[in-house]
């Protein structure tokens, strides 16, 4: 049986931005935005589940993010992931792609042996497409970006179709391997109703700690045992679990810094108003013809 780890990310819905969302220091106040499952990551999970259906695999999902990312991890379980890992710590805040790939790669090492790491090509909040290849580098793995399909899998060799500029190529790769999956590769399956019922009450360690803190009648250790025994525990990894080097994460461990952020104010009023009727358009066309812009 193959072991696949899928990197997923909960992203702010960037189609819904208001001025209040930006903080003074130029970083984004993600708490102000609705959070969604990054679609290319969802497609990566779908591809992993198809490999599981066809060749047999255990599929784990992993995310680095705030405690509320558990909601997305539950969606992964509803689709068919076997288990989920939340990598979360306040100290991770402000990490750029290099720092993020350090944390994620250490978390993947912590999980153990695997044949594949899958990820979406990029996330809609930054569109950088950097964390995949950077994680591959840190795990010393070969990488295939912009993958569209796993065409075949024989023992420790995978045949992968990927997009290239102006076409596609077919590659044969030895495992273990990291691939990033491009938009349009696989339509994610709907949630299984049975799995929704089974996992909807899943909680991370952070959720359970919070419940324990809020209610003295519910001792934390008992709660933890209970959630574990009911298979409702989402694995949670923090800074200490992973024994990370603090100088390599967060704002301090990020070589790129946001120097300035501007929301561009447009001059406006420069445009010539054209009436949306025949007369207005006729004048416009005359002008364009006269200036040899049209015709």
């Amino acid at each position: 049986m193959y072991k696949i780890i899928v990197m997923v990310k909960q992203v702010p819905d960037t189609s819904n931005i208001s001025g209040k969302v930006m903080k003074e220091d130029g970083t984004v106040n993600r708490a102000m935005l609705p959070a969604v499952f990054n679609h290319e990551d969802k497609e990566a999970l779908e591809l992993a589940l198809q490999v599981k259906d066809k060749y047999g695999a255990e599929v784990s999902v992993i995310t680095m993010g705030p405690p509320r990312a558990v909601e997305m991890l539950k969606e992964c379980l509803y689709m068919g992931a076997d288990d989920a890992y939340l990598v979360s710590d306040r100290k991770f805040a402000g990490s750029d792609t290099l720092a993020t790939s350090y944390v994620i790669s250490e978390a993947i090492k912590h999980i153990g042996e695997f044949d594949f790491v899958f990820a979406g090509r990029q996330a809609i909040d930054g569109d950088t497409a950097q964390v995949g290849p950077q994680t591959a580098d840190k795990l010393n793995l070969p990488q295939i970006t912009y993958a569209e399909d796993v065409l075949d899998l024989k023992e420790k060799t995978a045949t992968i179709k990927r997009r290239i500029d102006g076409g596609y190529e077919i590659l044969e790769a030895k495992l273990p391997l990291l691939i990033t999956v491009v938009k349009g590769a696989k339509e994610p399956r709907p949630f299984s109703a049975k799995r929704v019922m089974a996992f909807k009450n899943s909680k991370s360690l952070l959720d359970i700690e919070k419940m324990g803190n809020e209610n003295a009648l519910l001792p934390y250790t008992n709660l933890l045992e209970e959630y574990k025994s009911r298979n409702l525990f989402i694995n949670t990894l923090t800074m200490e679990d992973l024994q990370l080097d603090i100088s390599r994460l967060g704002i301090k461990g990020s070589p790129t810094k946001v120097h300035k952020v501007e929301s561009v104010v447009l001059a406006g009023g420069q445009a010539k108003q054209v009436d949306a009727n025949r007369e207005g358009l006729s004048t416009l066309i005359d002008e364009l013809l006269h200036d040899h812009i049209l015709g």
């Binding site: 290849p133 580098d137 030895k174 952020v261």
Partner: protein
């Protein structure tokens, strides 16, 4: 911080022995950056039988080309290419390394940045050298990496203050290509490539490419449609107008995401940057990330039913109305005039 150099490097991407346009555009930009730094511009060419490409880079102002030529490097593979760059960068410590934001560049640059612990900013729309004060500390001649961020709603200036190597990727068409009047003497430094067994873990079985039928970059007239058109069926209006005025069809990111048109037609920061004589912008609100890819058009005609749409802020002609009404009327009036 360790000693920093004044070298600007451009990774010159080649496919089937032809240099990518974006790399030549970056050489032109790199020349300017090197001049601002008071430094030198170097081209890095990796491939097989690509000495001609290395020679050709001097037309764009290169001071020295680094050539790594080997039969095993004929086609791009992430591992050998990144290994070569990692070793070179760790040894020579260039101040700036630029990559095209192509599929190859977007896979290679982050891998190299990770290995060399460099800062990397994707899809920059402008690159400038400036003295910067950051957290009360002065940094002379830093690379400002400017890009729309966060779904294209804001413009961010990214810096890499405390690292010796600053890296950025740029999309094709964003920078302008210029040949220099008097090229430097050709100096090509050949660098030895030693194959390694890790270079063979991925093999190319088949490669297929075709010439794209869409060429937005060279089109003089572009008709671009956005999400405001509402349906794919309504997007046909864009095709009709384009056919009428002899233009090429384009779309905003939202239009592409909604499936109204193909991704190769996307105009904007994460698509193609265009500088046509005339662009019609129909049902496009005008987020920064879109405007970044078309604001240098000679004339912009914006058609939108929202009189407050940001696109009107950069348009030369403002038409407030529904595309369903305005476009057929425009086509009819135009055809009558040509009779």
């Amino acid at each position: 911080m360790e000693n920093i150099t004044k070298e600007v490097w451009v990774f010159v991407e080649q496919r089937d022995g032809i240099a990518a346009d974006v790399s030549l555009e970056l050489l032109s930009k790199g020349r300017k950056l090197a001049d601002s730094l008071g430094g030198v511009l170097k081209a890095v060419v990796i491939g097989h039988n690509v000495k001609g490409i290395a020679e050709n880079t001097f037309k764009y102002g290169v001071d020295e080309a680094l050539l790594i030529d080997h039969p095993k490097l004929e086609k791009y593979l992430a591992q050998p290419y990144s290994r070569i760059l990692n070793d070179l960068i760790k040894e020579k410590r260039p101040r700036i390394v630029l990559f095209g934001a192509t599929i190859i560049g977007r896979g290679l640059a982050p891998r190299v940045a990770s290995s060399t612990l460099s800062g990397l900013t994707a899809d920059c729309t402008e690159l400038v050298i400036e003295d910067v004060t950051y957290l009360k500390k002065d940094y002379p001649k830093l690379l400002l990496q400017i890009r729309p961020a966060f779904g294209g709603n804001i413009i961010a200036t990214i810096i890499t203050p405390d690292n010796p190597v600053q890296m950025a990727t740029v999309r094709e068409g964003v920078m302008e290509m210029h040949e220099v009047e008097t090229p430097n003497t050709v100096i090509i430094t050949e660098i030895n490539y030693e194959p390694n067994e890790t270079d063979d873990v991925i093999k190319i079985i088949k490669q297929f490419r075709e010439e794209s039928k869409v060429n937005l970059k060279t089109s003089q007239i572009i008709v671009a449609g956005g999400y405001g058109l509402g349906t794919k069926d309504n997007f046909k209006l864009i095709h009709e107008l384009a056919e009428c005025v002899g233009g090429e069809v384009a779309g905003s990111r939202a239009a592409v995401d909604a499936g109204f048109c193909e991704s190769e037609r996307q105009v904007g920061q994460t698509g193609v940057t265009v500088r046509p004589k005339l662009i019609f912008s129909v049902g496009i609100s005008g987020a920064i990330q879109h405007r970044a890819g078309m604001q240098d058009a000679n004339k912009i005609i914006a058609i939108n039913n929202d009189p407050e749409a940001p696109i009107f802020g950069i348009a030369h002609y403002k038409i407030v109305g529904n595309a369903e009404d305005v476009i057929p009327m425009f086509i009819e009036t135009f055809k009558q005039k040509l009779k």
